[in-house]
């Protein structure tokens, strides 16, 4: 999701419910508004319904193998989604670890350590970076990072003891791998995470921080003991939003993961993710496979809605907690 929308979402949470004006009912204007609302209802129902309906034949014929089966044969199956599901989880979780560790430090630096006059510039830059289309990140990963991984990073990783057993052999032809996909994803969701976590940290009440400093806490003690605990839930919300973005990312992963539907825990080997597999397979798919790809879409949708609901409830809990302070 775009970072702007994410930030809006934070602001959106603040709205108290209820109308701001007295009733506007019984005018043509009211009916126009209701018509638009009903149209949007129809679109959102159609959105879920159409994808689910198109995937129905696959759910009937293949059922649970879509979640647990290995191997994907076009055009008549078997259609096993396990490789895509594990690929999605592996890449997005590693990306999340990268983005959260670096992003948290970055947000703290932006809010506390950067001179005040540079803050707006840095914040604007972060938002611009979050607006870069994901295909550009994918392109950069494929044409710049993949060759570099291939010639430098992968052999270096393989020179460690036991690394071959953990990461797999680095002899891949193009350098595209699950590890590369995770790194590119991590770089991609970093601006999203920073944009939200920076806002969450910046709204921690000033008097809490001053109280802590006046008791003799150092800057880091203030951050660790006061700022981070106060912002905790909001930071979890930002984490889940970043995770939701990573799991749904399509073209960047499709370009750099290698597009191989194997259940793969050796990160230097190629793999794929749910969204990336839909993108790479859809062009040549016919008949049953279209329906199977729609079923993968349903899995992705369920995963995404769960993450979105968790992050929503966390962010609004943070709002309420801060309102009490």
């Amino acid at each position: 999701m775009s970072n702007a929308a994410a930030v809006d979402l934070l602001e959106h949470e603040e709205m108290e419910e209820g109308p701001v004006s007295s009733s506007i009912s019984r005018s043509w204007y009211h009916y126009v508004l209701i018509a638009a609302a009903l149209l949007f209802t129809a679109i959102s129902l159609g959105f879920v319904g159409t994808i689910f309906w198109s995937s129905w034949p696959t759910w009937i014929h293949h059922g649970v193998t879509l979640l647990t089966g290995k191997g994907w044969t076009s055009p008549n199956g078997p259609f096993g989604g396990l490789a895509m599901i594990t690929g999605t989880l592996e890449t997005s979780l590693i990306a999340l670890v990268i983005a959260v560790i670096i992003g948290l430090g970055t947000s703290i630096s932006i809010v506390f350590f950067i001179p005040r006059r540079f803050r707006t510039i840095v914040a604007t830059l972060v938002e611009l970076l979050a607006a870069i289309p994901s295909v550009v990140y994918g392109l950069w990963g494929l044409l710049v990072i993949a060759p570099w991984m291939q010639t430098t990073v992968n052999p270096w990783l393989n020179s460690w003891p036991f690394a071959k057993e953990i990461f797999g052999n680095s002899g891949q032809e193009f350098g595209t791998s699950l590890l590369l996909a995770s790194i590119v994803l991590g770089i991609m969701i970093l601006p999203t995470f920073v944009a939200i976590s920076r806002e969450v940290i910046a709204v921690v009440p000033q008097d809490l921080m001053e109280a802590s400093l006046s008791l003799g806490a150092t800057r880091w003690q203030m951050i660790r003991e006061v700022v981070l605990p106060t912002a905790k839930i909001g930071l979890f919300g930002a984490t889940f939003l970043a995770l939701a973005r990573a799991t749904g990312e399509t073209v960047a992963v499709a370009l750099v993961a290698g597009s191989v539907a194997n259940v793969q825990f050796h990160l230097l080997y190629p793999g794929t993710s749910i969204a990336a597999w839909i993108a790479t397979e859809f062009g040549e798919s016919q008949g049953n496979e279209v329906s199977a790809l729609m079923a993968l879409g349903v899995i992705l949708m369920v995963l995404n809605v769960c993450l979105a609901l968790i992050s929503r409830s966390l962010v609004s809990r943070q709002r309420r907690a801060l309102a009490r302070v």
């Binding site: 959106h12 109308p19 638009a36 149209l39 959105f47 970055t106």
Partner: protein, 310 residues
């Protein structure tokens, strides 16, 4: 005498204890400050680590992209390189026209509905409004490939329209809708209550107040949201990938297959011709500049709104 000794002794230990405490607290402060310094350095390091790949990305984009962009790049159709002319990549006029056409049709579809739904959410109170608010927030975070699947099932397959610019626009419109709805609702709710009350006090009907006073006041905020939605849609690859068909002609017609800049980047990045892979940087540069201009415009609009209010 023994009383006196008893009195002296605690006094002595007290002195030693004070010294001890002072020393300990100095040591503790030194340690705490050292930790603090180390953590400040680590955080700044994180900022640097975060900046390096992004700076490298922008550097590559401008260095490799700028040399690709010239007049024919914008005006010619793409050609496939052959063994005899491996550098003949042509231009990307079809991609640019496709992107602009997709964006315009998607805006025509999404803006009216999105703004009206946003106003509905802000102006009325009902179960439907509460539900739609949650739905729009969830849809704003939905993976964009799902919009492609939706447009494929509904427009390309069920309505039998085929791979076309209108199917891509539909997918992008679904993508833009929640962003427009959310920002419109925020903009309308942010209109000061006193303005509404002034209108109502003058005897204007509630819908007149909404149309003549609230909407014009909220306009800057709404426009900002619309521009943000467009800047998101322009760069999206996944939704259009499945439905626009990738046409090689300059076509503005809604029912023709078209290409788009993100799609061209996606397809040509995997090309076996070095010249085509090099050209991709040019397309990416144009796309990124396009998106940056849109985002900056939105930010400037937003800050203008702030100034007007202050």
């Amino acid at each position: 005498m023994s009383d006196l000794l008893d009195l002296e002794e605690p006094k002595d230990t007290g002195h030693e204890m004070r010294d001890e405490i002072r020393k300990t607290s100095e040591r503790s402060r030194a340690r705490r400050q050292a930790t603090s310094r180390v953590m400040v350095i680590l955080c700044s390091l994180a900022l640097l680590i975060a900046a390096v790949p992004l700076v490298l990305l922008m550097y590559q984009l401008f260095r490799q992209g700028a040399s690709q962009v010239d007049w024919t790049f914008f005006t010619k159709l793409p050609t496939t390189p052959t063994l005899l002319s491996p550098n003949a990549t042509g231009g990307i006029s079809n991609d640019i026209i496709g992107t602009i056409a997709l964006t315009i049709y998607a805006s025509i579809l999404a803006i009216p509905v999105g703004v009206l739904v946003g106003v509905y959410l802000a102006e009325t109170e009902s179960k439907l409004a509460t539900t739609l608010r949650v739905v729009s927030q969830t849809m704003a975070g939905a993976p964009s490939i799902l919009m492609g699947l939706f447009a494929f099932s509904l427009i390309v397959h069920d309505l039998n329209v085929g791979f076309s610019s209108i199917a891509g626009s539909f997918a992008l419109a679904v993508l833009m809708l929640p962003v427009i709805i959310i920002s419109t609702e925020i903009a309308v709710r942010n209109v000061p209550l006193t303005l509404r009350e002034a209108g109502l006090a003058l005897g204007a009907k509630p819908h007149k107040v909404s149309l003549r006073i609230v909407l014009p006041t909220a306009l800057t905020g709404i426009v900002t949201g619309v521009i943000l939605a467009i800047s998101r849609a322009v760069g999206e690859t996944a939704p259009v990938l499945l439905v626009i068909g990738g046409g090689y002609t300059n076509s503005w017609k809604p029912f023709d297959p078209v290409s788009a800049m993100p799609l061209a980047i996606y397809e040509n990045a995997k090309s076996e011709w070095p010249a085509q892979r090099a050209q991709v940087w040019g397309i990416a540069l144009v796309l990124v500049i396009f998106v940056f201009i849109l985002s900056l415009t939105a930010r400037i609009w937003a800050s203008r709104k702030q100034q007007v209010r202050n």
